[in-house]
């Protein structure tokens, strides 16, 4: 028994639509000061979304993650103290703060016909973060998702435009998953901003969060839609 969905091509993202979604996305980002911009490459004529943000991190491991790191050699950084600390002691002893520069790019993959997330992070002295270090700052509820989710693997690849190493969320499951979310509602799907839908799903796993305000943009009632 085969159950065919709405034509699967409907849920692929054409490059033209990718650019339009990105344009709407950037406009909204500018309105709320979320820091995204559209960059183009002079040579290739391709464009991509880019965001850089700086985050102050404690070097503590938050309590949710302590089980995961039993093998870690950097014991001194963890707040595994035997006696309880009062607030004044805790602040001084356990945490050093450091600034991390996160960079996220959204590029279009013409072979998969979906957007792809590239990301990297480094300390201010230029030292890049490892994937484990990046995941250390991800919300605890996403920890389990790192292994299982609508992404096959995270690999390190050369950025197609910049030629520098970035981590990449492999796109081979994106189409399948996004199609499931959009469901059979082709009419609805036409008005959905694919980038917002996709990025709000995959971004948090790598520390990228979209403010709720994007949800209002995510589904525009277009002027051509049925009235009512």
């Amino acid at each position: 028994v085969s159950r065919s969905m709405a034509r699967e091509e409907d849920f692929f993202l054409e490059e033209k639509r990718f650019k339009q979604c990105c344009e709407d996305f950037v406009k909204h980002s500018q309105q709320i000061g979320d820091g995204w911009e559209w960059r183009t490459s002079k040579d290739l004529g391709d464009g991509y979304l880019s965001k850089i943000h700086f985050q102050v991190r404690n070097r503590n491991i938050p309590p949710d993650l302590k089980e995961k790191n039993s093998d870690n050699t950097e014991q001194t950084l963890f707040a595994h103290v035997e006696e309880p600390l009062d607030d004044s002691q805790a602040a001084g002893v356990c945490s050093t703060e450091e600034v991390v520069r996160y960079e996220y790019h959204v590029l279009y993959s013409s072979s998969y016909q979906v957007p792809v997330l590239y990301f990297r992070a480094c300390f201010l002295d230029g030292r890049p973060l490892t994937l484990d270090e990046i995941w250390g700052s991800v919300h605890a509820s996403y920890q389990a998702r790192l292994q299982e989710g609508p992404w096959d693997t995270i690999t390190q690849q050369e950025h197609p435009i910049l030629g520098q190493p970035f981590f990449v969320l492999h796109p081979c499951r994106t189409h399948e998953f996004i199609s499931a979310v959009l469901g059979g509602s082709r009419e609805h799907h036409r008005h959905t901003n694919y980038i917002i839908l996709w990025l709000s799903t995959v971004g948090p796993v790598v520390g990228l969060n979209l403010p709720l305000s994007y949800a209002k943009l995510a589904h525009e009632q277009s002027a051509n839609a049925d009235s009512g």
Binding site: H139, S141, Y142, A144, R145, Q147, E148, G149, P150, D152, F177, A180, V181, L182, G183, S185, H188, T192, N193, I196, L197, S200, T201, P204, N209, L210, L212, Y214, A215, K216, A218, H219
Partner: protein, 75 residues
């Protein structure tokens, strides 16, 4: 993955993460299956987001429609 909708009464301060945990138990999902929740079928709110806030932005008539989508257990 198939999406369905059901009706539940939820306190305003319940977070998305709380909802996810509840639905996963309700559906008896395996640990390796993941659940994603969407508002307007177009945006996945962050896990800390309170349902009450979502209702204020996107709900009406005492109802907030959310969709959930579960993934298979990969590998």
């Amino acid at each position: 993955p198939i999406m369905r909708t059901k009706k539940w009464a939820v306190e305003r301060t319940r977070t998305i993460q709380g909802l996810v945990d509840f639905i996963k138990k309700f559906l008896k999902l395996m640990a390796s299956e993941q659940l994603f929740i969407y508002v307007n079928q177009s945006f996945a709110p962050s896990p800390d987001q309170e349902v009450g806030t979502l209702y204020e932005c996107f709900g009406s008539d005492g109802k907030l429609v959310l969709h959930y989508c579960k993934t298979q257990a990969w590998g």
